[in-house]
């Protein structure tokens, strides 16, 4: 049936890409804007003509905080909002640097961390080697 309703939908597709170690985000082919988080329609223009593209991985820290938990609840770690070069913004964290050294405006680069229970996108300072 050509009109059968079945997934995977945008949310599942995003996490499927991450499971493959790849970071893809949606682009609207109607208004040419990047879309994050993944959706069924473009929040900028309403079109459902969204396509997946591999993210450049380049970003800039837009806002940052250091969460200070007790060690058994995760200790001290960074939470940041990252402006992607494509124009979308996402929550993430910056690793490879002390959490309080993360600053607004810092250039960062994405990587897919598959070491935990579920894959996720994290960032490291750009130009900081591998």
């Amino acid at each position: 049936m050509s009109d059968a309703i079945a997934g995977p939908g945008a949310e599942q597709t995003y996490f499927d890409h991450l499971a493959e170690g790849e970071f893809h985000i949606q682009h609207c082919t109607a208004c040419h804007k990047a879309v994050f988080y993944p959706r069924a329609v473009c929040p900028h223009c309403g079109s459902d003509a969204l396509e997946w593209r591999q993210a450049s991985g380049d970003g800039v820290v837009y806002a940052t905080s250091v969460v200070r938990q007790r060690p058994e609840k995760g200790g001290v770690y960074n939470v940041a909002l990252i402006d992607l070069a494509e124009g979308a913004r996402m929550m993430s964290r910056v690793e490879g640097i002390a959490p309080e050294k993360v600053t607004i405006g810092m250039a960062v680069r994405a990587e897919v961390d598959r070491s935990g229970d579920a894959p996720l996108v994290v960032f490291r300072p750009a130009g900081g080697g591998s």
């Binding site: 949310e11 996490f15 994050f36 988080y37 837009y62 806002a63 940052t64 905080s65 250091v66 969460v67 200070r68 938990q69 995760g74 770690y77 939470v79 940041a80 909002l81 913004r89 996402m90 929550m91 993430s92 964290r93 309080e100 607004i104 405006g105 935990g116 579920a118 996720l120």
Partner: protein
Amino acid sequence: MTGLRGKSAIVGVGTYGLGEAPGLSEYEIMTGAIERALGEAGLRAKDVDAVFCTSMQQNMGSLTLAEYLGIQPRFSDSTVIGGSSNLAQVLIAMMAIETGVCETALIAYASNQRSTSGRLVSSSKPDPYEAPYNPRQPITSYALSASRHMHEFGTTREQFAEVAVAARAWAAMNPEAFMRDPLTIEDVLSARPISDPFTVRDCCLVTDGAGALVVTSAARAKDMPKPAAYVLGAAMAHWHRYIANMPDLTVTAASESGARAYEMAGVKPSDFDVVEVYDAFTINTIMFLEDLGFCPKGEGGRFVEDGAIAPGGTLPVNTNGGGLSCCHPGMYGMFPVIETVRQLRGEAGDRQIDGAALGLAHGNGGVFSSQVSLVLGTQATL
């Protein structure tokens, strides 16, 4: 929309169990507040024909409340848009009353989360794009906004602390407030860090507490025992749900809701005698003073310096002690409304602002997400 100006009024308010109410259920403390609110209006539960209730613990709050009180209402609403829900319900009640859908609305909220869990209860499902990073929500979302405000405008931790210190000074004059001990800027800065730049003293309390409002038509309000607080303006706006989708972390949709509420009321910021805003965190007060027009964008930190919003300052803000020092039972939106009504009636005791005739009650929900502004005034402002 200007057609709703002054057509409805708050004729009864009640609080109950602010701080700690151990051994009482959510609906037991809610009933305490409702009995006081109805009592002020000279009404009984059977006189209510519209029930509004928001609960963090169950999603059909108005059904439960109506059943509990033995009311079979003509209209019912359990809106959940976070801490601004009860203010949104005032707007909904105004529309229902003016169109004849109902005559007398009861709006109630309660939580016993301090006694039952000791921590802020969240009613939200974790977001799959946030949860993996373990933000301490909602604190970290507001902390991210604060980081941006500091970056763009040079706002300092000391300026955030000024907000907490001012709230505490007001709370010291409010017998109902939960935390009334003296607080200094140094106390705030050296308190336990939670999510930079916030310490625990930049964050709202976790308390029990209940509040209730009775809203009816301005015509019926004339015959009520207490002086009515007329709703001169009301507006809501939201631009995002999660913090990553807030268009600019230094501008809230209060800039829209406030402007529309002022337009309906025909007032400007300098007309207000008292200002009650939802201070979940110290950044909230600073952002709302900017977005609601009391100072230019970016000047909020400097605006609150030197006790400007504390007792004896230039603008009375959060005269009950706010969510930072009076109470914060999960959602605080009910309490700016109640404090504004008490100020307009001249019932605020030691913290009374002489001759208060026009007040602003502003509610915030989510993570700077839903914004609802209410302009309330005495009969002289109609």
